[in-house]
């Protein structure tokens, strides 16, 4: 049968695929590697040779403290963290509740209408809403420049997709019989939901948490319209402002970019499996 020959052949193919993939991966992460090697050089060394592993003037970590100080790193990191965590938690809670009442009462017209509106709204690009949003909440109500306003807006924009995903999960994964039994035992709907239904939604909760947390953390346009004061800046806004001010001091820029990427890269190191799984199931269902 020539099995030996065939297996050598497939081994060669495997080896070639492996080499190509390693090269492809290196190309993929090359921009990050470039930032990392340049962050430890002086401005002059970066300008004279951005590709050298170590600059003529040697290794320096001086760019970090200066960039951290100038971009107000811990403040903007704290803002990003508070906004991301609160908005994600609220989105999960509020959407699961809404999806539950809609799924369990299919004959309520208001619920059906609300759900249809949410599904339809998913095609609306943010560009259509940004001008009226600024006009309503800035010009008329004057509630911009507040983290709470941004958090609530984030939630408002993400409830449609999250409710849609919870809707599917409750419909397929939560048996009504379980709730009926709880009802007979004297549980109110409210308690039934939190003690029986919500814990069963764990996989969907994880998916939505990952998708939304990443989206909120990295969002630039909405936060830039809502948060105008320096003390309220999130990491993307601070990065942009920093770049605008110090673009010629390339060593500082490298440090600021690395600082902006570091939190999520560190998180990815630990939660990589969950993030990949969450994004995949979110994309496939959404």
């Amino acid at each position: 049968m020539g099995a030996g020959q065939k297996s050598t052949q497939s081994k060669v193919v495997h080896a070639i695929v492996m080499v190509v993939m390693i090269l492809a991966l290196l190309v993929f992460i090359a921009p990050f590697i470039l930032v990392i090697i340049n962050v430890f050089k002086t401005k002059g060394d970066i300008n004279s040779d951005p590709l050298a592993l170590i600059g003529k003037h040697g290794f320096t970590i001086e760019n970090f403290p200066r960039a951290m100080d100038k971009m107000n790193f811990w403040t903007v990191f704290g803002n990003s963290a508070i906004i991301t965590i609160s908005a994600t938690v609220l989105t999960v809670l509020v959407s699961a509740m809404a999806a539950y009442v809609i799924v369990r009462n299919p004959h309520w017209k208001v619920g059906a209408l609300f759900f249809a509106a949410m599904v339809a709204s998913m095609v609306i690009p943010f560009q259509v809403l940004m001008v009226p949003l600024v006009s309503l909440y800035g010009g008329i109500l004057d509630v911009l420049n507040s983290r709470i306003t941004l958090i609530l807006m984030h939630v408002g924009f993400s409830v449609s997709l999250a409710s849609f995903m919870f809707h599917g999960a409750i419909k397929t994964n939560v048996p009504v019989e379980l709730e009926e039994a709880a009802g007979i035992d004297g549980c109110t709907t409210w308690r039934t939901f939190w003690t029986i239904v919500f814990p069963l939604l764990k996989p969907t909760i994880a998916t939505i948490t990952i998708i939304d947390a990443m989206a909120f953390w990295n969002d630039y346009l909405l936060p830039s319209l809502v948060l105008g004061r320096r003390q309220l800046y999130t990491i993307p806004i601070a990065t942009r402002v920093f770049y605008g001010t110090y673009s010629t001091d390339i060593g500082l820029v490298m440090a600021a970019l690395l600082l902006a990427m570091l939190p999520i890269l560190i998180l990815y190191l630990f939660l990589q499996r969950y993030i990949v799984a969450g994004v995949t199931s979110g994309a496939v269902k959404g």
């Binding site: 809404a98 408002g156 939901f193 346009l221 993030i275």
Partner: protein, 292 residues
Amino acid sequence: MKQSKLSYKAGQFLMFAGPAAILFCAVVILPFIYGLYLTFTSWDGVSKSKPFVGLDNYKTALTDGAYWASLGRTFVYSVIAVVLVNVVAFLLAYAVTSGIKGQNLFRAGFFIPNLIGGIVLGYVWKFVFNRAFVAIGEAMSGKEPPSLLSTPGGALFCLILVSVWQYAGYMMLIYVAGFMSVDQSLKEAAMIDGCNSTKAMWHVIIPLMRSSFVQCIFLSTTRCFMVYDLNLSLTNGEPYSQSVLAAMHVYNQAFVYKNYGAGQAEALVLFIICAIIGMLQVYVGKKGEVAA
């Protein structure tokens, strides 16, 4: 009795769906309707009065050459980027499901660009194009070449390259899920029936992955069509406003040139395009279900 049942229903609905409904209406429904009203006014963003101007904003939008140029550019950019993203993503997905060692590591690695926001990625790549590529060019030719970002075609090329780099890893994950959902025995059966692996790929595996293709193509299309952050940080529309894409034009029209009404009218055109893409996706997706 009927009264109390109705109030019970209303109570339950408000308790569970109330918070979501209020926030959703406050940031999506209300602004959407208010935005329609704004297109009939010439609001400047500052004054309290919003003078009614009828259809003037729509006339401005229709005759705004820069707007239609940005839409055309966005179209070219999206078509090229979507094709390349999906080809690269499919090949990557094929490779990482072929049984090579360290598959999970590769999947995780190719996904990395998606973890980071467009603003930061744009600045990282700006450094790559302006410094690293120039240094490589200098080493190869002996004299310093101009940065790709300094020519109109080059800037658009850079936007496409970075988008492909970023989204390929994301779409790869969807294609990987597609590959995994195809029953291996079907491929084996096709091979026994005399297909070689290329034929099995074209006639068995790819048709079975139809839903992955529909999803990836539409997802990458909407992402590309609405791109803003990357455009802002990588090229900022330069050189000579020749790399301004549609989303950036709308933003500038409203918030930089303070033509809020006209900007909103131009945004509505984007909405119509997105709605058409969305309906097309539902239609194509449904059609596939019937056929399969």
